[in-house]
Symmetry: C2
């Protein structure tokens, strides 16, 4: 049996960093997907295994907290493990660690399995998954319920495009993040960092689906977001902005 | 001295593939950028070296031809080398090879160096670059002149967003490709493959810049594209669609 905790190595690609030279939320999201995908595949419950059983994994909720964003060509390690298995949902955690072994981000994700044909949830292989339950602490709160804002805000129109689709032909989970993050004004990125990002996927987006993108400042530095189709949310998100950690970045550059 | 031809290894990330389970043009574009970036850095003329001299590389033109698109978790090798050095431009070539050593794609790119302050072209370090000139054949035509279409077509409005920006704060070269490719209807991807994609970058896009995206079928399977700002093209592109290589893909799956 493979070890319960999977560890993956990355080096941030400079040509993918944002205008500040930092990793973006969707980029970190892609690292998480990479780790989840490969951790599961190597342990017999990955994409191919699920397809064989005419099923697939769908990401239901994700929360991440970043204390320091990786910078150009920075080597990072990502640990991932399963910390809960229920009848219909399983929880997967992530810890991102820098070259000095210091944690710089945590994430929690909730996954369900659906039938490829009916697109409805199916019971998980609880026994098979529980073998890999790991006893490691994930230092952030679980993804919670995100309040609705679609009726109080004017949305921005968007249509799902070729580049938004994943291998299953649905709106790619990471692309939801990208379109939501793009709702913020660039000024905010100059002054602050996203300290917590949380997203709940409610239903699948498809090609050419007309959507509206919603944003509302709920309290200082806390924003609620939604992506809607015909007035109904297919996804909700919440972003908390924190202090711009300029000093800690300066320290990091010197080491 | 390092060898003239740089070789880079990738494995296509399944969660980044398109709805057909194939690598996309922007994804291949990112592989090219990765190889170019690292080939240059390791030989003393990379991003950091250029920044030190208050200059940077800008991609001026790129052409790629793909005979077979990489599929899920496929290991690929990318060779890159310099095949021409002029006073203001240098040509970099790429060859993408599959696990059996068969070439599946070629690309040619033309780069200029600009001054970080004035944003104007500066003479290249010809002697330094010529040391790495490699004598390897790149089997595709150079990027050529792309006809203007902006006056004959109605553009689609687009504004440059946070996720479109690169580390220099300008419209990311790969994101231009993504927005252009998204102009095609999904039906086309079901029937055909892009066999040649060519792009010319004319001026820099910036945050919030209002743009229009243009597409015109010039002849059967050949499309001209442009991205304009205030009616003037900041980028032109050309896409040639080829026969859908279903058979060769089937053969590949079996090996």
């Amino acid at each position: 049996m493979l070890e319960k905790i999977g560890t993956f190595h990355f080096e941030t690609a400079s040509y993918l960093l944002d205008f500040r030279g930092k990793a973006t939320i969707p980029m970190i999201g892609n690292y998480l997907m990479h780790a989840a995908w490969n951790h599961a595949s190597r342990r017999g419950f990955g994409f191919a295994d699920m397809t064989e059983k005419r099923s697939m994994w769908v990401l239901s909720r994700l929360a991440m907290e970043v204390t320091r964003y990786p910078e150009a060509s920075e080597p990072i390690q990502l640990h991932t493990w399963i910390d809960e298995v229920g009848r219909l949902f399983t929880n997967r955690c992530f810890e991102m660690v820098d070259r000095n072994g210091a944690p710089i981000a945590y994430a929690r994700s909730i996954w369900a399995a659906i039938d490829l044909q009916t697109r409805r949830p199916i019971p998980l292989n609880e026994e098979g998954l529980k073998v890999y339950l790991a006893d490691k602490t994930c230092l952030i709160d679980k993804p919670g319920k995100i309040p609705s804002i679609e009726n109080e805000t004017q949305g921005i129109d968007y249509k799902v495009k070729y580049s938004d689709l994943d291998i299953n032909g649905h709106f790619n989970s990471i692309k939801y993040m990208e379109h939501l993050i793009d709702l913020f004004d660039l000024e905010l990125f100059r002054k602050k960092e996203i300290s917590r990002f949380e997203i709940a996927y409610l239903s699948e987006g498809a090609y050419n689906m007309p959507l509206t993108l919603h944003l509302k400042e709920a309290s200082p530095d806390t924003y609620l977001m939604a992506i809607c189709h015909e007035g109904k949310a297919i996804c909700r998100a919440k972003t908390v902005w924190g202090r711009f950690l300029e000093e800690s970045n300066e320290i990091n550059k010197k080491t």
